[in-house]
């Protein structure tokens, strides 16, 4: 039996984590080398990972939606599922084997599956891992220095060049046994008085921060590494008030956290650098994509937004009827269904609202189909999955599609394919209880409809003020493609269906 774990690789030069989007295998499946196991999403791309092993899946170590650190195992594969005698690692074919030996260099070490080596970079970066520009990033394990030999047999051990500053300030170590170091012209870790008197005040006076005599007037008694100092600054902790517990009287991260009190302690461990008054959240993943898409849209497509307030009372009645209809059993029916239908019908009348601006070709592409995007607030952030060919759907089909779309989004299983190739979008801001907004067009589309909350309002019907279910629609459109008249026609068409769903039969 040989169980191998596949650790999440860095698929894009310096990534630190990835989110599991979907598994293509299950426990018990037989997999072959390079068979696709899983799709992950990183800050750079959605990527399918092929299996490095052949065998049987024993365990999936990460669930869909989990964000996994690079280097953490995600799947266990039994490479000898039949209990066969151990098969040696794939032998190199005989004839090209000689060539393989030419590759690379001396010193054999490692293998396909190296243990985590001691880190060389990083040290105590807040939150463990630090993203780096290239390479695999510092390990999360604590760096350990390799022990030096006690005696130098060779006698060749290079002696560091004498530092002029330390020459001037030379002498035995301070009584505390802390090795002094110089940083930015300040000597840390040693009393200076003796130094000054020994040199008769001729040397450049160096300010010293000692480790003794807490509270001695005029002396700052702080010893802390730069990352700890940064942490203290971020957490708003005055290092002078912290009781050091580290070696040589140094202040550790734990000391800072303890001094900051329980509320701040939890912050210290998170990958956000925060203070009591501000919180900083790294921009990545869906948030980053959203930001880029919105900036791209807002600054390339000249947006115009129009508003229309409509009486949705009949839509509400119609939704109640639909809920009782046999074809809709088990489905969640909301006014969004009517709006979705209305948008598809209006797009048929006004294809400019369901179009793409092709900058390269200097052409407008009118779509003879509707891939209807529905903006969804999901655990991963804002996603806009779309219903393919929504215009050809019946009412029950559309209801099923909307139900599936929201369930998939809620479970975080929306795939890139679900989000690709949308032609027009609805954003249902009404569910948040607001009336309207000026939505930004999903890039590559020409219009987006914001659907506000439906609430009872006074409304004039036949000269009388009566309470009706009122709703505001807002349509943002790309003025390169859609003119005011065209956009208004589209919006009015949508409004007519909501005012009277029977219009859907004749539009």
């Amino acid at each position: 039996m040989a169980r191998r774990q596949f650790k999440l690789p860095d698929v894009g030069e310096g990534l630190t984590e990835g989110e599991i989007l979907q598994w293509f295998v299950q426990v018990g499946d037989r997999v072959t080398t390079n068979q696709t196991l899983v799709e992950i999403e990183t800050a750079k791309a959605a990527v399918e990972l092929p299996s490095p092993y052949e065998g049987e899946v024993v365990e999936l170590l990460a669930a869909v939606g989990d964000v996994i650190d690079v280097g953490a195992p995600i799947i266990t594969i039994e490479t000898e599922p039949d209990g066969a005698p151990s098969v040696p690692a794939p032998a190199a074919p005989s004839e090209p084997g000689a060539q393989a030996a030419q590759v690379g260099v001396a010193a054999a070490m490692g293998g396909a599956d190296p243990e985590i080596a001691a880190g060389l970079i990083g040290g105590e970066a807040p939150g463990g891992r630090t993203a780096v520009l290239v390479g695999y990033g510092p390990r999360t394990t604590t760096a350990k220095r390799r022990p030096r030999r006690a005696v130098h047999e060779s006698g060749h051990r290079p002696t560091p060049a004498p530092d002029p500053a330390s020459e001037v300030l030379g002498g035995p170590l301070g009584t505390e046994g802390v090795k002094p170091t110089r940083y930015a012209g300040v000597e840390f870790g040693r009393l200076i008085e003796a130094r000054e008197s020994a040199h008769g005040g001729e040397s450049v006076p160096a300010r010293t921060i000692g480790v003794d005599e807490q509270g001695d007037a005029g002396r700052v008694t702080v010893l802390a590494k730069p990352p700890v100092r940064k942490l203290a600054k971020d957490m708003g902790v005055d290092l002078r008030s912290v009781t050091p517990t580290g070696p040589g009287g140094t202040i550790t991260r734990a000391d800072v956290a303890a001094a900051a009190g329980p509320a701040a302690v939890s912050l210290a461990g998170e990958s956000r650098s925060s203070t009591a008054r501000e919180e900083r959240i790294a921009v990545k993943g869906v948030r980053k994509m959203t930001a880029q898409a919105m900036v791209a849209s807002a600054f390339t497509a000249p947006h115009v937004t129009e508003f229309l307030t409509v009486d949705a009372t009949r839509t509400m009645d119609f939704v109640e009827q639909l809920k009782r209809h046999p074809s809709m059993q088990g489905l969640k029916i909301s006014p969004l269904l009517v709006v979705a239908k209305a948008v598809c019908l209006a797009a048929r009348n006004t294809p400019e609202a369901n179009a793409t601006w092709d900058e390269a070709a200097q052409e407008i592409v009118l779509k003879r189909y509707v891939n209807l995007g529905i903006a969804a607030a999901t655990p991963r952030g804002l996603l806009v999955p779309n219903i393919k060919d929504a215009d050809s759907m019946s009412w029950p089909e559309m209801a099923v599609a909307l139900n599936q779309l929201s369930a998939t989004a809620r479970e975080g299983r929306t795939s890139p394919a679900d989000m690709a190739a949308g032609t027009i979008t609805i954003t249902n801001v009404g569910v948040f209880g607001v009336d309207s907004g000026t939505p930004i067009i999903n890039p590559g589309e020409s219009a987006i409809l914001a659907f506000g909350a439906i609430r009872p309002m006074p409304w004039v019907v036949d000269g009388q003020i009566v309470p009706r279910q009122i709703c505001t629609l807002a349509l943002s459109f790309d003025h390169r493609i859609v003119d005011g008249a065209t956009g208004s026609r589209f919006l009015v068409d949508v409004g007519r269906v909501i005012e009277d769903p029977i219009t859907a039969l004749i539009l």
Binding site: G104, V105, R148
Partner: protein
């Protein structure tokens, strides 16, 4: 733009449907065995590329630049070269490296980070991969001018004369280095072939942001001929490169070849092309696949049968296994090897540094290997 129809000036000998077509200036005369050989090159190089991409996705390579879609441009030009022709590649010329006899594992070693390439450029007449965009075009022109001065230019044929071949992409044509290389090559009539694989995308920048005119037309402004060839047609690429090399070796100066092709995959494994180009474009280029057209030609003309293709498939699988095993078995480099190939001749300061570094390494109780 990337979907522009084939323009009349595109040199093509084998259509995407696998039909042979005549061209007034270019023709090839291959035996059946040679045609099968070209197909084998294309198929094996694609397989090497696929395996390397998978190894990257499994964490075994730091990065990989895929040549998917550009096999014919590389095999056609690579196989047209003579023994003295010297290649100056970018980092994507895995197919040309194959033609020059470089072990694919050497390529993987570079992307795994265990060495800087590790093949002997003189032995293979294939320079080390150049990451800096376009810098190798200047190296190629310098090498070509050296050939001139060594008397390697004239009417002696490929055995006695030689040329330099600079590979680069459409994006590199916007680099200052490349334009300077054009000028030097032109003014000195250097025996160099500028082989531009126009794969339509410079990472995420489309071709229309590089040029207002077809790239090959730029050559005339520099004073040498330019030709656009169907880069997905291995026969046409071979013929055009062969003619350009002959011209260079005989002393008639440089040629610019624009191999019109398409990068089917990502720029590198760190890139996600779905963010900047549409699937329809990729689908359209799939129909022009360089391997499929030769396959259908071989099958339809009976030059290769099913058994032959199956044997090749098996060879391809074995090669992939060899690549995988060889990659996983690569030793990490010893720190001392960093001194090995810095200078041709040893000298005192380098020897001192080596000695000091060895002593430093010896000062630890364990080697770094043992420690891990």
């Amino acid at each position: 733009m990337a979907l522009a129809p084939e323009e009349p000036e595109l040199v093509q000998l084998l259509t995407p449907e696998g039909e042979l077509v005549e061209h007034p200036d270019y023709r090839v005369d291959f035996s059946d065995e040679e045609l099968r050989g070209l197909y084998r090159d294309l198929a094996l190089v694609r397989r090497i590329d696929a395996e390397a991409t998978a190894l990257q996705r499994q964490g075994e390579l730091g990065i990989w630049a895929s040549l998917l879609g550009q096999e014919a441009a590389q095999i056609g030009s690579g196989r047209a070269m003579g023994p003295n022709d010297h290649v100056f590649p970018t980092y994507r010329e895995h197919g040309v490296a194959w033609c020059r006899g470089v072990d694919p594992l050497n390529l993987l070693g570079l992307f795994r980070g265990v060495d800087m390439g590790g093949w002997d450029p003189e032995e293979h007449h294939f320079h080390l991969y150049t990451i800096v965009i376009g810098a190798q075009t200047l190296h190629a022109v310098g090498y070509a001018m050296g050939l001139q001065r060594d008397g390697m230019v004239g009417d002696g044929g490929p055995e006695l004369t030689g040329a330099a071949v600079a590979y680069f992409g459409d994006g590199a044509t916007s680099q200052g280095d490349v334009n300077e290389a054009f000028i030097w090559a032109s003014v000195f009539q250097a025996p160099v072939v500028f082989f531009c694989q126009n794969n339509q995308w410079a990472i995420s920048e489309p071709l229309e942001r590089q040029t207002r005119i077809p790239l090959y037309q730029r050559a005339s402004g520099f004073g040498f001929p330019g030709v656009r060839v169907d880069g997905n047609d291995v026969l046409a690429t071979y013929a055009v490169t062969q003619a350009a090399l002959a011209r260079a070796r005989e002393g008639s100066g440089p040629t610019f070849i624009e191999a019109y092709t398409y990068r089917m995959g990502a720029h590198t494994t760190s890139d996600d092309p779905t963010r900047y180009r549409i699937a329809a474009e990729v689908e359209a280029w799939k129909l022009k696949d360089p391997i499929e057209r030769l396959r259908s030609f071989l099958i339809r003309t009976g030059k290769a049968d099913q058994d032959w293709f199956e044997a090749l498939e098996e060879e391809s699988n074995q090669l992939a296994k060899h690549i995988r095993a060889g990659c996983l078995d690569m030793p990490d480099p010893s720190p001392m090897t960093m001194f090995d190939h810095v200078y041709v001749d040893p000298h005192k300061p380098l020897a001192n540094q080596r000695e000091q570094f060895a002593a430093y390494l010896a000062s630890f109780e364990s080697t770094s290997e043992e420690h891990s």
